[in-house]
């Protein structure tokens, strides 16, 4: 009895001690808490009725789209459908937009988009276009920043994963596309090879895509075939290094299996320097060869509101072995992700994601090493410059897992560290670490407005994180993705805001609102609408049978359809609703939806014509209506279509019954 009391006492005592120890600070890892400074809220508060200072163009990652946020508020303004169909607007479903997603593989309704890139003039974003890459089925899209719509798209042949893309040259002469995966290319026999012949038969490629300055149509100017490595990211040279382009490469081990280990063996991989001015000249002189490679270039004709496709059967290729001086390799520790060029163009920062240092290369030294043939050797016929000879210096022990670097206007760099989950600020010239802030959690890319350009706007650095954990209200196993906004105005970076993002935000760009706002298109002028099925007024509406196809020219204006009664459609017909929105005012789209539509609805902007294909499945009367609240009489905006059996004698007609006829 006594004994058991004692034991019980000892047990309770020990438990209490253990409990106290466990819960005292220092005995247990702390959870992350953020301390934002007191006035952070007022610095990101954009008062009702006022506008954000920057547009932030953020990749949707596996959503395939481009998301538009305001900074500093972090508010989502719009999601622009790019690579993935969007039943909400009809993008990829309407007859006009289907060709945008058509490739040599057929219609591809999705993709994985990583890197937005703003078009540039004199190496500074000009606010005209935003490019974004499709990683899975190699493509580049161009989004027009007047309409915030996908304006053109090009497919890239001989590429197998368009990750290293779509970075632009200083005047947007080209945007590049480096393949992430090397694959065998050429004839069918050359492509059908054992995977373990990777070293002999596989090839990489980097393509230079030319957007037409006037129209935004894209075509491949030339393509350089390269040794079989994986291209990760790229940046244009500018200023001091104008005329050159830099690509980070990994898997110089040429592994084709278990890359996690096999591609992480070498102490150094490469940054590839491309003399693109020379490549351009060679291409112009006809030094390249045309190689078969079918690909689509799709372009939105703004006069017809319809996407047109140009199919190219081949592509101009330059073989680096025939043109010495085109490519050079610089050793870069270890599996580099980012290779970023500072605003003056003199320094190139490699971010080796498995390295514990940051190498900074000097363009001047690169040129000297090339001139004096200061090579370590070669890699599959490409000269490898001596590491020490081209190095400006290394940032020692900056953090773990460096991924990507951007710059401010004061000579500083900001590098994201995935493993140590932080942003590190350092001075490019002195290679000194100045400040570091934690990110929540596991930052991937980061972005300073204009931070890849010759004239960064600075003010903020935004972290685009890979992991969210406990930062937001939980939503089941899948959590929101997230970004964080930091002020870089002072010596110390300050966390101001977390904001959720759609899809996965890989990279992003930002530009001042004042650069973009003046470009805004408020509506399409009806007199400039040359769609083949446009109805420029209610009098032009009508119906026409062509075999088993019925075409209805329909108009919308607050708040009725013309026609709104259709008869004479039969089972077995395919009906095309060509809907023209007659409004000529800002922010008055109309919707069009019909019961049983197996594809989508339409959202038609003022002055636009869009077409929905609809196949009736049952005899009867089917309603259609407007899905976008347009006026006090929106709920009255509707119509009926009568479907009769095949071979019925009901005459084809489309009409509206005016109130006078009803009296």
């Amino acid at each position: 009895m006594n004994k058991s009391f004692k034991i019980t006492g000892i047990v309770i005592g020990f438990s209490a001690m253990a409990f106290l120890m466990m819960n005292s600070p220092g005995c247990r890892p702390g959870t992350t808490r953020t301390a934002v400074t007191g006035d952070a809220a007022s610095r990101v508060y954009v008062a009702p009725g006022t506008h954000d200072e920057f547009y932030n163009f953020v990749s949707g990652g596996f959503s395939g789209q481009l998301a538009i946020y305001g900074l500093p508020s972090g508010r989502l303004l719009r999601e622009v459908p790019v690579f993935s169909v969007d039943p909400e607007s009809g993008y990829g479903f309407s007859e006009e937009t289907k060709p945008m997603l058509t490739t040599s593989h057929g219609f591809i309704p999705w993709d994985d988009s990583h890197h937005p890139e703003l078009s540039m003039t004199n190496a500074v974003p000009d606010g005209r276009w935003c490019f974004i890459n499709g990683n899975n089925t190699p493509r580049i899209a161009l989004i027009d920043l007047g309409t915030f719509r996908t304006h053109s798209m090009i497919e890239i042949p001989h590429s197998a994963g368009n990750h290293s893309s779509p970075f632009a040259t200083p005047n947007t002469e080209y945007v590049v596309a480096g393949t992430r995966f090397s694959v065998p290319v050429g004839s069918e026999a050359e492509r059908d090879v054992p995977i373990n012949t990777y070293k002999e038969n596989f090839k990489g490629s980097v393509s230079f895509i030319k957007p037409e300055p006037e129209t935004g149509k894209m075509s491949i100017a030339f393509q350089i075939l390269t040794p079989p490595v994986n291209f990760d990211l790229a940046r244009t040279g500018k200023g001091a290094s104008d005329g050159w382009f830099f690509f980070s490469c990994y898997n110089t081990e040429k592994a084709y299996s278990l890359l996690e280990v096999n591609a992480s063996q070498r102490d150094k991989d490469f940054i590839m320097a491309v003399n693109w001015k020379l490549a351009e000249q060679l291409a112009k002189e006809g030094k390249g060869k045309r190689a078969p490679g079918k690909h689509y270039s799709n372009w939105l004709n703004e006069h017809t509101h319809t996407v047109e496709s140009t199919i190219y059967e081949d592509v101009l290729q330059l073989d680096y072995r025939e043109h010495p001086g085109l490519l050079y390799f610089m050793p870069c520790p270890k599996s580099p992700h980012g290779c970023d060029v500072n605003p003056t163009g003199e320094y190139i920062v490699g971010s080796g994601k498995l390295a514990a240092l940051l190498p900074v290369f000097s363009f001047k030294k690169i040129q000297e090493a090339i001139a004096s043939k200061d090579f370590e050797g070669d890699f599959v016929g490409i000269p490898v410059l001596k590491y020490e000879s081209v190095l400006h210096g290394e940032v020692k022990k900056p953090g773990l897992g460096p991924l990507h670097t951007e710059f401010d206007a004061n000579g500083n760099a900001y590098t994201s560290f995935f493993v140590s989950s932080e942003i590190v600020k350092w001075n490019v010239e002195k290679l000194e670490v100045l400040d570091r802030v934690p990110t929540y959690y596991s930052i991937g890319h980061l972005m300073v407005p204009g931070g890849n350009s010759a004239k960064p706007w600075g003010k903020y650095v935004v972290a685009y994180n890979k992991i969210t954990k406990d930062r937001y209200l939980p939503t089941g196993p899948e959590l929101t993705q997230s970004a964080q906004l930091y002020s870089i105005d002072g010596d110390k970076m300050e966390l101001l805001l977390d904001f959720p993002t759609t899809g996965e935000p890989h990279y992003a760009q930002a530009a001042p609102a004042d650069l973009i706002k003046p470009r805004e298109v408020k509506f399409f002028r009806i007199e400039d609408n040359h769609h083949p099925w446009v109805a420029k007024g209610e009098k032009e509406s009508g119906i026409e049978r062509r075999g088993r196809n019925v075409h209805i020219k329909m108009t919308t204006i607050r708040s009725h359809f013309t026609p709104d009664n259709v008869e004479g459609v039969q089972l077995g017909d395919t009906v095309y609703f060509h809907v023209t929105n007659l409004e000529q005012d800002w922010d008055v789209p109309h919707g069009f939806a019909i019961k049983g539509a197996a594809n989508a609805e339409l959202l038609i902007m003022p002055g636009e014509t869009a077409t929905l294909k609809w196949v009736p499945t049952k005899v009867g009367v089917v309603p259609f209506y407007c899905t976008d609240f347009c006026s006090a009489l929106h709920q009255e905006m509707q119509g009926y279509l009568r479907v009769s059996p095949r071979g019925s004698s009901v005459p084809l007609k489309a009409y509206t019954v005016s109130v006078d006829a009803e009296l």
Binding site: I557, E583, Q584, D585, A632, V659
Partner: protein, 196 residues
């Protein structure tokens, strides 16, 4: 008449011709959902501004659509202005006070007539509503204000002179000034005559 008076009258006459090319009156509309506002400008020969948008709104309450063809005034208003300007130039050349007086009276009458026409049109336009309009409000008329502010349903409406209107008032003020100066001269002269 003093030479300066004749110059002034000539200038006033030429200023009237400007009315052929600039908006004379304007109506501004504002509502919460139209932060950018809507406006209608009345020229001597046409309407300008957000005519289509205003017609689109009027369609709900059964107001007639505004079209230039509705107004005979747009045909003869420019002619009246030209005649008035010619009259002014004749008065300046001739230099008779009686013509100045007549011009001033004519111009005032013209101004009054124009205002009355506008009020009359506004009355007609605001009261003659389509009985089958979607939105009907008991005893609600939509006559725009002749000058100043008025609330019409969810819209604030302002009616104000535009460039041409101000020029017209300026011309009238100038001629009145010249006229009173001349009258004073006349009185002084008659006094001088009486005192000799």
């Amino acid at each position: 008449m003093r030479p300066i008076s004749r110059v002034m009258i000539a200038l006033a006459a030429l200023a009237l011709l400007v009315l052929l090319t600039v908006p004379i009156w304007r109506i501004d509309l504002a509502a919460p959902q139209y932060p950018e506002g809507l406006y209608l400008q009345i020229y001597a020969d046409r309407f300008e501004g957000d005519v289509d948008k205003i017609n689109g709104l009027n369609h709900y309450i059964g107001m007639a659509h505004i079209k230039n063809e509705m107004f005979k005034e747009f045909i003869y208003l420019p002619r009246i202005i030209m005649v008035l300007a010619a009259l002014g130039l004749v008065a300046a050349a001739w230099g008779r006070r009686i013509l100045l007086f007549l011009g001033l009276v004519t111009l005032s009458l013209f101004g009054l007539w124009a205002l009355w026409r506008m009020w009359d049109w506004g009355y007609e336009y605001g009261h003659n509503l389509d009985p089958r309009a979607a939105i009907k409000i008991e005893d609600q008329a939509y006559q725009p204000p002749l000058i100043g502010h008025k609330q019409l349903l969810n819209f604030d409406a302002w009616s104000t002179p535009d460039t041409g209107g101000w020029i017209l008032f300026g011309v009238m003020a100038l001629l009145a000034g010249v006229y009173f100066m001349e009258i004073r001269d006349m009185r002084r002269r008659s006094r001088a005559v009486r005192e000799t």
